[in-house]
Every structure is written in C-alpha cells, then in structure tokens.
C-alpha cells in the first residue's frame, strides 16, 4: 500500500489543527495488506478507559501514531469484551456507536475519520479529504466510480469519487449542459442560501438562491466541481456530465468548526461577482463582534462597513454613501420596515437569533429593488429546523431572548418562533430619581416563520414580524410605536431554467403619543402607515450566457397622517384629524446578466416605476410664483375617492460591468438611478419618535437619485481580499425644513418644507480576510456629502443657496474589525472605529431681546464636533464541547468603549437669562462592561 501525502500533517497529532485537516490530501492507491498493525494483540484491558489514554499508551510503547480530531473522541470510552484482542477489534467495538472510521497504514499511522468513511478497500481505491486550496493540485481521478444514473433528488454522492450524470448516449454531442439542483444543510435540511458551486478550471461559479437552488451551465464533459459554503465542509467532486442533470448536495457543518466566522461573499465573489458596493454578512459574524450593552445588532455592525455612517452614537437610522436615513430600503423577510430601532435608536429592532444573514447594496442595486434612493438592506431570516426541535435562549443586561424551531412534518414543514424583550424597567426602577423611577421603557419583538417544501418544485413560506416600543416618563406622557409585517411567498420552479416567485406583503407602522393627567390638555396623537404589496419575480436562465430576470410589483399605501384627539372627560382639546392619504406605487423590471466571455460580464436592467396619489383628499393650491405659505393659498380642491390627484413616473436604469484581468484582479463599474416616492419628515439630526413618513403629493415631488461607482478588486494570497471603490451620487428633491417648521398637527405641511439637492462622493478602501483563525477587515473611507437649498425665494435659502455639509458628512472614517480564534472554546474580537466629528451649526451671533440674551443661528453645519474614536473588545467563551450534552452554552464578555474616551455626542448652548453657556454631552464616557449568556437545547 502506498500513501501519498501532499501536505504535511502537522503535529503528530493529538489535535489536527483545523486549517491542516483541510489541507491534507491523501490518495490511497492499490493496496497490499494494510493490517499488520491492526493485527497487533492488545493484551491489556482498556475497557471503559478514555480513548485518549489508549492513544498515549500506544504512542508511548509502539510506533503507532494516531491522527484525529479530539472532538470526535473526547467523551469516547473504549469497549473491550475481555481477554486479548487485536487493535482492530478494539477500535471496531469502540467506534461502532460513533460513526468513526479508521484506517491503519503500513507505516503505523492510525487515521480516524468521522462521517466520511475512509476507503481502504481495493475497489474504492482512492480517497481524499476535501480541501479548499489544494484543488489545483488534485490529480485526475484514476478511475470512474460507477453511480446509478441521475441522482434526481437522491442525496447520496460518493465520498469524493467521480460522479457520472446524464445519459451517456449523449456523450459525444457538442454544446453545453446545465447542472442544477438544491444545496441544503445536512443537519437540519435548511436550504443553503448563497452557497457556491464553483468550477475552478473554468473560473465559473453560481450561487444558490433563497431556496438553495443553483443552476450552472457547463461545457459537456468532465469537470471538477466544488460545492461550498461558509462553515461547511466543502464537497469537491469530479463530475462527468453527459446531459443536463440535477444534482443535490447536503453540506455538513465543519467538524472542526472553531467558531471562526467567515464572510460568506465567497472568495470568487470579490473579484468575479458583478456587483459593486455590496456587503453581505452571516449572522455568525455579527454575533462574534462586540455589541453595545451586550446586544448583537446588525445595524451597529453595518456601521463598521465602509460607506455606512450614523449621525451619533446610539442613534437610530444609518446613512449610506451620503444618503439620508429614509433613503434606505430596510427589508426584513421581504417586507419594508418603517422604523428599525428600539429604545430611541439604542438598538435595532431585529432579533439576531432569527436572522440568517443580511445583504447591503450600497450601489448597483439589482432592478428587482425599488422605492429608495440610497441603499437596500435586505435581512433574511432563518428557516425553522426541518429535522429536529431545538430551543435557544440568551440573556444580556438589556434583553432576554428565546428561539424555538422544529419540524411539524419532518423534511416538509417547519416552524420558527423567536422573541426578545427588554427588562429595562427593572433597571429604571433602581435609579434613585423619582422622575426616572416612575418612568418605564420597554420593547419587544416577535418573529415567526412557517416554511413548507411541497416538493422540489414548490416552496411556500409565511412569516410574520411584530415589534413594539413603549416609553412613559414620570407616569404622564406615553409614547408607543410598533412595526408589523407579514409576508407570504411561493416559489415555483417551472423548470430548472425558469423560476418564479410570488409574494404578498403587508407592512405597517404606527405610533401613538398620549398624555393622561386628568386635565384639560389630555390628548392622544396617532400616526400610521400601511403598505400592501403584491410582487412577482421571474428568473429565466436563457443559456449559459444570459440570465433574464423580470417581474412586477404593486403597492397600495394607506396613511393616517395625523390624528390628534382629546382623551377623557376633562380634556378640552380640539380634535385635529387630517385626511387619510393613499397612493399606488408600481414597478416593472427586466434585467439581463450577460456573460460576454470569461473576462467580461454585464448586468443591464431597467425598472420603470409609476406612482399615483389618489383621492379622497383636499389639496391646497398656492398662488403661482409665490412661496408655499398658508397666506398664499388661493384655492382648495376636493378630489373624490379614487381620483388621481397627481402622478409621477420614472425610468430607473441599473447597469453593472465587470472586467476580469485574471482570476485575481478585476474592475467593475456600475450606474444606477432610483426614484423614491415615500419620504421621512424629520427636522432633527436623527429620526425622532414623532417623525413620520409622507407620500409624494402635488407639492412634494419624488426624490431621484443617480449613482456612478467604479472599483478595483484584487484577491491576495492567504484569503485576503482587497478592493477600492469610488462613487459619485446626486439626489434631487431632498426634503429640508424652514426654521421653526412644525411637522405635527400641520394641515399644510408643504409650507414648512423646502426642496434641496444632494451630492455625495467618496472612495472606500477595504482589506479583508474571511477565512482562517484570524478574520476581519480594515477599511478606510474618505467621503463627502453636501446639500444645497437654493429656491426661487432668497429668504428660504439655506447658507445663501450654497452647498453645505450634511449632518452625516464625516470625511475620514476608519474601521478595524478583528476576530481571533484562540482555541476551540475561546474567541476574541475587537472593533476600532475612528471618524471625523459630524458637522454642527453653532450660533454665530447673540442678541439682547426683551431682557434676555438670545442666540442667532445661521451658516448650517459650518463647524464640527470633535473626532470620534472608540475601541470595543469581546471574548466569547463556549461551554465544553461535548457533542452529546443536553445543552450547549456560551458566555460573551464585552467591553464597549474600552478606552473610556469621552466622545462628544452633541454640543449645545443654553441662554440662561443674561448669559450664554455652551455644553457638551456624551453618552458613553466610560467603558461599559457587559456579560451575555446563551444556551441552546
């Protein structure tokens, strides 16, 4: 028997280091007897001993060397019936329960394998342990393994042998064939989204869709094809494909998974993917990073990515490439979320336990997305476990969480229910200030999902989401808001080349503020918006060069803009209920992903959006050539129900081009234009609880954004990816506000709004390492963002009609994010953030008026607050790693703002009678230490 060892097995091995087991490639060729060592008589009783004791005994006394991963055997006790046995008998008996295979080489190496059998037989004359990097060095398979025809949904494939697919009769036909199928998780049957099917010698790849479906077009013949996804054992197969076929794959968790988390955008995506400005992250990555107050928060992690900024620490809303926070389409399970924050923006309203991953499109949005100008944050939730029921829970200083999932019908129908709630009242009640002690603040969110696989052609899932916040200060005024959404999706595969998705979406957002002090000013103020949407998406794999996607959607908005009412007997409030507003927004799109050659790829798409603002509604008309002011109203028109009051439409172009110099270098270009018909009214620097959405109407035009983006992408050795992206963006019809604007209880809101023009540009540099014990990224962004308000009426202009920096214009931004796997139970992370202080408007004059000194503000955003710097650390400690244990637990220790830097949140001035005093305010001026405990059953 001859062994070829391509890479060295390090460390003669109590522990096979993970990175090494992956780079081991063994080829076993024709055999002589291999069992000499196996025949060794064991004359000592090892019954009930730990396996590791046997190993140390034998390694000490004989030339035998054992190779294995300790997690396979860490609780394994030896089984020996008595008397004297051969080593093989002992191993066979002991491993029987554990699915551990072994082979003993003539050199005396005992190699263990779990799951994948090691074929030592003459018939199966080779084996290999699949590998990420050594594919290229894989010699051609010596022989073809016979396999029963098409595997049509059958889940078995040889352990790394050669697979023959299709009708051998068509073997010599010219042309291409399609390979399609589903990739699922072995452990729970969940579809693998974004798993990669990759043919290295062709540089061709395809990613799976949300149901784990992939389709790749290949020249007929033999290929080495790998199926891979993060945290999963890669499967590399030699395939002989005679005609178009289906091949399904189940990927297993990496046995030696050290909780090293990796960014899913696979190796081939950085350079080969067509999109610019896309960020994609698995929740495991998010969870490995230090969170504020011990909370895992995807929005806070997104802020560490280049091009994503926030106005202030712990503030709701985020800004992508100089866009305002209402220009981000936040989708949770395909439903838009209108308010994505809990507790004034301290946390985002998404429970990390139910999230699978998120994608953030900063530019080059695919044509299927529409309705927002700056970005799309698409958050996907997990599918319930199709195999077994599991429960996980966690507790942090702020919240408690629980997630239950499991099959209803095994492999067919599963459910998932996750909930999270805060117990901050408990904390508030301990604060020794009556005003705070008598206050309460709470939030919770619930997510549920039912997933049904009817058959391989039809998938249905229904998901629901509800989040609620309430806050009450000193037992009088109560603030409440909630998001609610429901999505039903049906994905149907007409054929392996033609796929459709149909979706019905409802999403709503409401807030209510009320004061109940039993006096004449008791009131309630309500706002609500409802989004009803029907959507269809079709993908047609025309041939190996073209993927066509097309579809349409229609949204009906119903908005209750302002409902101000008295509450109780004592109240003397005059109700002010503004008319409901309604509008239709629809879009159709068509796109083609065109593989011009191995180097050049093109994505072209057009989306045409239509918008109608419809009655019943009373609309004010203002005198022509006069500013919109209540005093200039010259007509009032009542539109009947269903009458179109105003319509808008806009063609939106989406174009991306990638040119690959070689597998390691590419440049990409993209252009996209977007229209936005829904606006957030907010005249504070961040979204405040009384801010509301507004539909475009005769006076408020849709926002139109255009963005050009150009990037260079390069992959370096050691799994290091780098990229440089630049962009230029322009936004028309931004909303700005007049001084002293009133956004609530305002019957003619348009009179307090002025239109601005936005422009933003920047360059984003990033170096990332997505694999290995040390992962993370280092990014630097230089970006600017400006607004100009230059109207027909000089006095309405801001800064005399010149461009001024937006509130989130922070030119320099550096993030360094690292995650280091120290041992299999210990994992360390660090975030380092630096950015230029945000712009601020200072008073430029003071004036005495009626006994007091007052401040005069002008020159918007002419100054900046001091620069921001923060360093966070976290340590994740796993409970012991026994696989059979009832529950797995982990501890996370996090230190937020480790240096305790007194970062300035805001600077403000108070006129105290005769004098003016400036103040600075910081939110977290000391390091904040938190402990989070998680448990999984």
């Amino acid at each position: 028997m001859k062994w070829l060892v391509f890479s060295v097995i390090m460390n003669r091995c109590r522990v096979i280091n993970r990175s090494f087991i992956l780079s081991v490639l063994l080829i076993l060729s024709t055999g002589r007897g291999y069992t000499q060592a196996g025949d060794m008589i064991i004359d000592q009783s090892f019954h009930g001993e730990m396996f590791a004791d046997l190993v140390s005994h034998l390694e000490g006394k004989t030339d035998l060397r054992f190779f294995y991963d300790p997690s396979w055997i860490d609780t394994l006790r030896l089984v020996q019936a008595g008397g004297s046995f051969t080593l093989e008998d002992l191993l066979d008996a002991s491993f029987k329960e554990r699915d551990i295979k072994y082979i003993i080489t003539p050199q005396g190496d005992v190699i263990l394998s779990k799951g994948n059998p090691i074929h030592g037989s003459v018939a199966k004359d080779f084996f290999m342990i699949p590998d990420q990097g050594a594919m290229a060095s894989l010699p051609d398979p010596p022989e073809i393994l016979p396999l029963p025809g098409q595997n049509n949904g059958i889940q078995h494939h040889p352990d790394n042998g050669l697979v023959e697919l299709g009708d051998p009769a068509m073997k010599n036909k010219p042309g291409r064939v399609d390979l399609s199928g589903f990739i699922k998780e072995f452990e729970n049957g969940a579809p693998m989204v974004g798993a990669i099917v990759y043919v290295e010698e062709l540089g061709l790849g395809a990613a799976t869709d949300m149901n784990g479906y992939y389709l790749i077009s290949l020249p007929r013949g033999a290929h080495k094809i790998s199926f891979q996804s993060l945290g999963k054992e890669k499967i590399a197969l030699s395939m002989q494909i005679y005609s178009s076929s289906e091949y399904n794959v189940d990927l297993k968790d990496k046995l030696t998974e050290l909780k090293a988390v990796e960014i899913v955008a696979d190796k081939y995506q950085n350079v080969s993917g067509i999109q610019t400005g896309i960020e994609r992250m698995e929740i495991s990555r998010v969870k490995s990073l230090p969170g504020m107050m011990g909370e895992t928060d995807i929005v806070k992690v997104a802020l560490l990515l280049p091009g994503v900024q926030t106005v202030g620490e712990a503030s709701s809303g985020f800004h992508v490439r100089g866009g305002t926070s209402d220009q981000n389409l936040v989708l949770f399970n395909h439903a838009p979320v209108f308010n994505s924050s809990h507790l004034f923006g301290f946390f985002s309203s998404f429970n990390p336990d139910v999230i699978k991953n998120f994608e953030l499109f900063k530019s080059g949005m695919p044509a299927r997305y529409g309705g927002r100008v700056s970005s799309v944050l698409d958050i996907a939730t997990k599918q319930g476990n199709m195999k077994k029921t599991s429960v996980s829970a966690g507790i942090s200083p702020i919240t408690g969480r629980i997630l239950v999932e499991g099959p209803i019908i095994k492999d067919k129908l599963s459910y998932l229910i996750g909930g999270r709630a805060t117990y901050s009242d408990w904390i508030l009640n301990r604060i020794n200030i009556p005003a705070i002690r008598n206050s309460n603040a709470g939030f919770y969110d619930l997510t549920g999902k039912l997933s049904c696989k009817i058959n391989n052609k039809n998938f249905i899932d229904v998901s629901a989401y509800y989040s609620r916040d309430n806050f009450q200060l000193n037992s009088d005024t109560t603030y409440r808001y909630n998001n609610e959404s429901m999505t039903a999706s049906w994905k149907h595969y007409f054929s392996e080349k033609f796929i459709s998705e149909f979706r019905a979406v409802y999403s709503g957002y409401n807030y209510s503020i009320s004061s109940q002090q039993q006096n004449m000013s008791d009131f309630s103020l309500d706002y609500g918006i409802k989004h009803h949407e029907l959507k269809s998406e079709f993908s047609y794999f025309l041939n190996h060069r073209h993927i066509l996607r097309f579809g349409a959607n229609g949204i009906f908005y119903l908005m209750n803009p302002n409902e101000f009412r008295p509450v109780g007997e004592a109240s003397d409030i005059i109700p002010l209920v503004l008319e409901k507003e309604q509008a239709f927004e629809s879009g159709i799109y068509l796109s083609d992903e065109y593989d011009i050659g191995p180097r050049l790829k093109l994505y072209g798409g057009i989306r045409y959006s239509f918008y109608q603002f419809v009655g019943p509604k009373t609309v004010y008309r203002y005198g022509p050539g006069t500013p919109l002011d209540p005093s200039n109203i010259n007509d009032t028109i009542n539109y009947p129900s269903g009458k179109i009051i105003q319509s808008y439409h806009h063609p939106e172009f989406r174009l991306s081009v990638r040119y690959k110099f070689n597998p390691y270098n590419s440049i990409k270009f993209s252009y996209n234009s977007n229209a936005q018909y829904l606006h957030m009214l907010s005249n504070s620097a961040i979204i405040s609880p009384t801010d509301r959405w507004k539909l475009s109407d005769p006076h408020i035009s849709p926002q139109i954004g255009d963005q050009l983006s150009l990037g260079y992408y390069r992959d370096l050795p050691y799994n290091i990816e780098t990229s440089v992206e630049t962009y230029y963006k322009r936004i028309k019809n931004l909303l700005e506000y007049k001084g002293g604007a009133k956004l609530i209880n305002n019957e003619h809101i348009e009179t307090d709004i002025i239109n601005g023009m936005g422009k933003a540009y920047g360059i984003e540099l990033i170096v990332r390492k997505n694999r290995g014990r040390l992962t993370g990224w280092l990014s630097y962004t230089y970006s600017r963002s400006f607004i100009k308000v230059d109207t027909d009426f000089d006095f309405e202009d801001i800064n005399n009609g010149a461009y001024y920096p937006s509130h989130f214009d922070k030119p320099h931004d550096v993030s360094a994010v690292f995650n280091m796997v120290i041992s299999r139970r210990l994992n360390f992370s660090s975030n380092l953030v630096y950015n230029t202080g945000r712009p601020i408007t200072y008073p430029i004059a003071k004036f005495p008026f009626k006994n007091g000194i007052r401040l005069h503000y002008s020159e918007r955003n002419a100054y900046r607050i001091p620069d921001y710097f923060r360093w966070d650390l976290s340590l994740n400690l796993e409970g012991n790693l026994r696989s059979r244990k009832i529950a797995h637990s982990s501890w996370t220790f996090a230190l937020y703002n480790a240096t305790g830097r007194d970062n300035v949140y805001s600077i403000f001035f108070i006129s105290k009678g005769k004098e003016i005093q400036g103040y600075k305010m910081s939110i977290f001026a000391v390091p904040v230490f938190t402990v989070t405990y998680n448990i999984r059953f």
């Binding site: 004034f344 200060l473 009088d476 002293g740 005495p848 007052r854 401040l855 503000y857 600075k920 910081s922």
Partner: protein, 404 residues
C-alpha cells in the same frame, strides 16, 4: 451646578403640548448617564467660534399703556464677545396704520423713545416700525394690537423639583387666565421679582436689609390654539427654589401678561426651541428664524429681533417667609461661605493678621471700654448693597410697616 442646571431645566420642562418630545429627550439624556454612572454626561464647554455676523437688532414695541415706548437698536456680536454695540443716529418711526406716526428721539446711545403723551397704542389698530440707518431702510410688518384679558389668578404651590444633585424645594408660580370671547389664544408672560433680604453679619455703617430686583429673561409663552375654550389653567410661570435668598423674608412677583398675534407666538416658539435646546439629536436642527422686520434696501441681510405690539395686564403677589412656618424651607443659603471673627482689644495684632489674609472690617462696637472688632471674609456677607438696593422698589408694601 454644571449638569444640574441643564438637567433641572430639562426635568422641569416636562412633556407639554407644545413640545411633545420633551419627555423623550429628558429620558434620553438622563438614562444612559445614570445607568452607567458616568461622572459627567453634560459638561460646560466653549468651542472656538471664529465667525460672527453683525446684524441689526431691534428690541422694541408698543402697548396700549401710555408711552413713552422704548426701542433699542444695536449690532450683534459673536457669542464670545461681551457687549453688543449700540446703533446711534438712526431715524426710528412708529406708525399707526391709517393714522399718526412719531419719530423717536435717541435718549441714550442706541436707545430711542417716544415722547410722553405722544403716540399711544389703541386696541384693534395696527402699528409698524421703520428705521433708516446708514442709507439702509428697515420696516416691520403691520402688527395688530390685540386686547388682552386679565389674569384670573396668580398663585403658588409648594413643590419639590428634581435636580441631578437631589431634590430641590421651593414654590412654583402659576396663573389661570381666560378669554370669554375665545379671541386671545396666544399669550406671553414676563415677570418682575423683588425681594427683601438681609446679610448674616451686622455692620453698623452698612444697611443689613436690602431689596433685590430681577426681571425675567426666559421665554414664557402659552397658547390655547389646541383647545376649544380660550382658557389656561395652572400655567407655570417660574419656580423659586431654596438656593437663593428670595423666600427668606418677603418676596413679590409682578406677572405681566401680553396677548400676542399668532405670528409673534411662532417667533417666540422658534426662539425658545433654539435657545432652550437640550442637546439631544431629537432637537430640531438650529436654523435661521425670521422676525417681523425686513431690510428693505438689502433683503438678503437678516434683521434680528421683533417689533411687538400688545396690551398688557399685570398681577402682583407677595409671599412672606412666615407662610412656611409650618413646613419650613431649608435654605441652601448663598451666604453659607460667610465667616467672621470678633476680636477684642484696641490694638490686637490679630486684626492686622486678618487684614493681611484679605478679611475686611465689618463692624466695631465699644462695650465697657473694650473695642470689639468684627472681621468678615467678604463684603458680600455684611454689606447687602453688594447684592441689592437699600431702598425698597417702587410700590413695595412692607410686611410690617413698623419694621421694614
């Protein structure tokens, strides 16, 4: 004091109809500070502000009371400058729509007054101001002089308020007012405080009883626009706490009620928002606000201030320390730092030692031939004129005519 001022102000303002978010903001400010027990979440801070604008400030108005009416003109300075610069030599005219007008005369630099017996505001008429200075003309909008209902009642309630350094004790002043015709709707108040106080160390050549005077400087406005009835109940005016001498002897408040127009109300509202901002990012972005005066020659240049027109109604009330006899207010006296020594003997060297230490001679008494010298650590502690006037203010009604 640093943070307590801001927070106290925040805690006091509470949620109100006009500022629906204030409760939220207070919470946002206090909650993280306390939760993490940071030493100072809010600190005094003076950023470098290099730019400033020189703009004309107009501070004046007309009422239905007989004149003279005063208009002050000055030029604004940067917020780090100490004084503003008076504007002299301007032609200032107050004009009645379809009626008379009067040119004001400059009585002090930058201070212009109408003549006694000159133009007088009449309810229901409209007035405006026009100014000419350095070849630039300024003009206000026509301002309606609205009638003002009387204050129904002025009263106080003993209240404890929240400061960051603990609770503070004191009295909260309220007013009730209403307009049976539902016409007034928008109100603004000012108040004038006068109080008697004494110093802790007696001095035979200094008065020990003085009167302090403080006109209000904050913005106190209210509206009934959201209510069916033009009625305000328990509208807060000011809070008088235990950290001053105000309530130690006798205290008087004169509350002045103005009925104002909606435009003026909006101006005050915006001014209040800008000037009494709490520093959270929920606050509206500071922006330029416009009064009712325009630069006619150069419309791009802003004019600060407002030409007001209103009828005024006043109400006066006294409070004496005796009223708290049953529930005494424990004063956190501003004289807490005062110290004195009485040194016996004519040429006691201790006297010069104290002199050298910066102490002052407060009093001398000769008793049985021995000179007793009182030395104090600050003039403030034995001479009440350092903080007030020895003469009572106009119309002051002493508690006990025999005593005060």
């Amino acid at each position: 004091m640093k943070k307590s001022m801001a927070l106290r102000q925040a805690a006091m303002s509470g949620p109100s109809l006009r500022n629906i978010l204030s409760g939220y903001k207070v919470f946002l400010m206090i909650w993280p500070c306390l939760l993490w027990m940071t030493t100072a979440c809010i600190e005094e801070y003076t950023p470098e502000i290099s730019r400033s604008q020189q703009l004309l400030i107009v501070d004046g108005g007309i009422t239905s009371e007989p004149g003279p009416y005063t208009v002050r003109l000055s030029l604004s300075k940067g917020i780090q400058d100490v004084f503003t610069e008076p504007v002299s030599g301007a032609v200032v005219v107050i004009e009645e729509k379809n009626g008379s007008s009067e040119v004001l005369s400059e009585v002090d630099p930058g201070r212009y007054e109408t003549a006694t017996g000159g133009i007088t505001g009449k309810i229901g008429n409209e007035y405006r101001i026009s100014i000419t200075h350095n070849d630039e003309g300024y003009e206000s909008a026509w301002m309606l002089l609205k009638d003002c209902p009387p204050i129904d009642s002025l009263y106080w309630m003993r209240e404890r308020h929240q400061g960051v350094n603990g609770e503070i004790d004191g009295i909260q002043w309220y007013i009730d007012t209403h307009d049976p015709d539902n016409n007034t709707r928008y109100y603004r108040w000012e108040y004038i405080e006068d109080w008697a106080f004494s110093v802790p160390i007696s001095s035979s050549w200094n008065p020990t009883l003085c009167y302090a005077h403080n006109p209000s400087s904050g913005i106190i406005i209210g509206s009934t626009e959201k209510f069916t009835d033009d009625l305000l109940l328990k509208h807060p005016i000011t809070y008088v706490d235990h950290t001053t001498t105000r309530l130690t002897l006798r205290y008087r408040i004169i509350v002045i009620q103005h009925a104002i127009t909606e435009e003026e109300f909006r101006y005050w509202e915006a001014l209040e928002e800008l000037n009494e901002n709490l520093g959270t990012l929920f606050d509206p972005i500071p922006a330029e606000i416009y009064g009712n005066i325009r630069n006619v020659t150069n419309p791009d240049r802003s004019v600060l201030g407002y030409f007001t027109s209103s009828t005024v109604r006043t109400d006066t009330m006294y409070v004496d320390a005796e009223e708290f006899a049953n529930a005494p207010i424990y004063f956190d006296s501003p004289y807490g730092f005062c110290n004195f020594v009485v040194i016996a003997g004519d040429r006691n060297p201790a006297i010069s030692n104290y002199y050298r230490a910066g102490w002052l001679l407060a009093d001398t008494i000769r008793d049985a031939g021995i000179l007793y010298t009182t030395m104090a650590n600050s003039r403030y502690c034995f001479d009440c004129t350092t903080a007030g006037n020895a003469d009572p203010p106009a119309d002051w009604i002493p508690l006990n005519p025999g005593n005060q």
